[in-house]
């Protein structure tokens, strides 16, 4: 009561760094709590207005603050999940891995898609014709080619000049940095520096 559940919701965010399944049950409970607080407030404020019973005013105020706090908690919860999702977009690209996708609710998936859309629109507007990809070159470039070890089977990779390379677990390659960058971020390749 009075925002305790909201606190639980927020601490869940704080405890885990990755995206957990959306806690719909808890949100529903908080919404119910808000509803009952609100109903009580409506009843009390009616009482105040009708009977001029000023003694009820402090409790109305308390409930109002609890309501506001609950709302803030829920919104913070949603906002922070969204932020993590946004980071994933920059890290992994426009397609989410299934293990994350299953933890999202419909509205979030929709938000992700529209974020994708507006980001893509923005990137297309840059440069002259085919746009400019902002998700490459995330780290300052040091060399043109990097030595990488393949940690997971990936399959075929096509380079800019059309060459095809098979990335298989436990093989070692020297590849152009720009091609490797997203794969290193996805954890398929491991950067080896000597």
């Amino acid at each position: 009561m009075y925002g305790r559940k909201g606190f639980k919701l927020i601490s869940e965010l704080d405890l885990y760094s990755d995206i957990l399944p959306f806690n719909e049950a808890l949100i529903k409970e908080i919404l119910q709590e808000m509803q009952s607080l609100y109903d009580a407030n409506v009843a009390n404020s009616n009482a105040i207005r009708n009977d001029n019973n000023m003694a009820l005013l402090p409790s109305v105020q308390l409930r109002h603050i609890a309501l506001k706090r609950n709302k803030r908690c829920i919104l913070a919860y949603i906002y922070n999940r969204m932020r993590k999702l946004k980071e994933l977009r920059w890290e992994l690209g426009s397609i989410l891995p299934p293990e994350i996708n299953t933890n999202l609710i419909n509205a979030e998936v929709q938000w992700f898609q529209s974020y994708n859309k507006s980001l893509a629109k923005y990137m297309r507007s840059l440069g002259e014709d085919h746009g400019f990809n902002l998700t490459t070159n995330m780290v300052p470039p040091k060399t043109l080619y990097v030595e990488v070890k393949c940690v997971e089977d990936f399959g075929k990779l096509e380079l800019d000049d059309g060459q095809v390379i098979l990335l298989k677990k436990n093989t070692y390659h020297l590849l152009p940095r720009s091609v490797c960058e997203p794969l290193i971020r996805q954890g398929i390749l491991e950067h080896k520096s000597t």
Partner: protein, 293 residues
């Protein structure tokens, strides 16, 4: 603001200059006397000084290097008679070379990186540079694969691309963080003096709309009565303009009032370096009189 660096010794001169001239941190230290509140800011200052240790500086500084790369590549195989259209356009308006565009964009990038709030956009520079990049890539295709220059040029191109992407990313991050604040500020500006480009503005608006949509569908619509509103005021995040920044003065500036003090004023000599609250120099950064480092 021309940097007299020999291209053979790319990084050393910068570091030397920094170690020769100790930080002029007197402003920060005077703040100490104002009580506990400033103590924390003092710590942040100390912390950032230690972070600014020259040996820790990575690529950021490296990009400040002036080189003749752009000149060379634009003249490469053109024998000087065929000039790029992009450059021509700009040249007609004002005398701008590819090299100075690069320098300007590097300065804009550093400013954007270190300033807490969003700065006026420099899409002119970005567009020009992007055109240059495409042009250079075209030029490079004509080079022999074995040519040593090719490697160097590609490396340099990668660095320029990094500067541009990082600059644009920094702006996007700020837009996403301070969406409501930026949009409301933007609404008060006329189309000539607005900070965002058209595309950025659209992105910001869409971003805000998406968030509102998300909030509404998940939570707000289920809330009782007047709690359903999307309260713009309470959701606004504002940049911390009181943050301390490192800067170097380009021109001589007189009479900056030190924030927090009653009427203390300082003057900045050209080339001198300072640590000061951003709010005191925000206008100077925007006008280009100082640059953040």
């Amino acid at each position: 603001m021309k940097q007299p660096l020999a291209s053979t010794q790319p990084y050393v001169p910068l570091r030397l200059r920094r170690t020769q001239k100790p930080y002029e941190a007197e402003i920060g230290i005077e703040h100490l006397s104002f009580g506990t509140l400033h103590l924390t800011s003092f710590y942040t200052v100390l912390y950032s000084i230690s972070n600014h240790n020259p040996t820790c500086w990575s690529s950021t500084e490296k990009f400040l290097i002036t080189n003749n790369f752009l000149c060379e590549i634009s003249n490469m195989e053109n024998n000087g008679d065929v000039q790029m259209t992009a450059e021509d356009d700009v040249q007609e308006e004002e005398e701008v070379t590819a090299q100075s565009v690069l320098l300007a964009i590097e300065e804009a990038w550093l400013n954007e990186k270190f300033a807490p709030e969003i700065l006026p956009h420099r899409s002119d520079l970005v567009d020009c540079m992007l055109q240059q990049i495409t042009h250079m890539e075209e030029n490079m295709k004509r080079l022999d694969k074995e040519d040593l220059r090719l490697m160097i040029h590609r490396m340099e191109l990668d660095r320029i691309k990094y500067v541009i992407t990082n600059y644009l990313r920094a702006r996007l991050e700020k837009i996403e963080k301070y969406t409501i604040h930026i949009l409301s500020q933007e609404a008060t500006r006329s189309s000539e003096e607005c900070y965002l480009t058209v595309a950025e503005l659209q992105f910001a608006k869409e971003f805000l709309a998406n968030i509102e949509m998300l909030f509404k569908t998940i939570a707000l619509q289920h809330m009782p009565g007047n709690f359903q509103t999307f309260e713009v005021d309470t959701l606004t995040v504002k940049p911390n303009l009181q943050a301390y920044v490192f800067l170097r003065a380009n021109d001589r500036i007189n009479g900056i009032i030190v924030p927090g003090s009653m009427d203390e004023e300082i003057d900045l000599e050209p080339g001198s370096q300072h640590i000061i609250q951003y709010s005191a120099v925000a206008d100077l950064v925007k006008s280009g009189a100082v640059k953040l480092i």
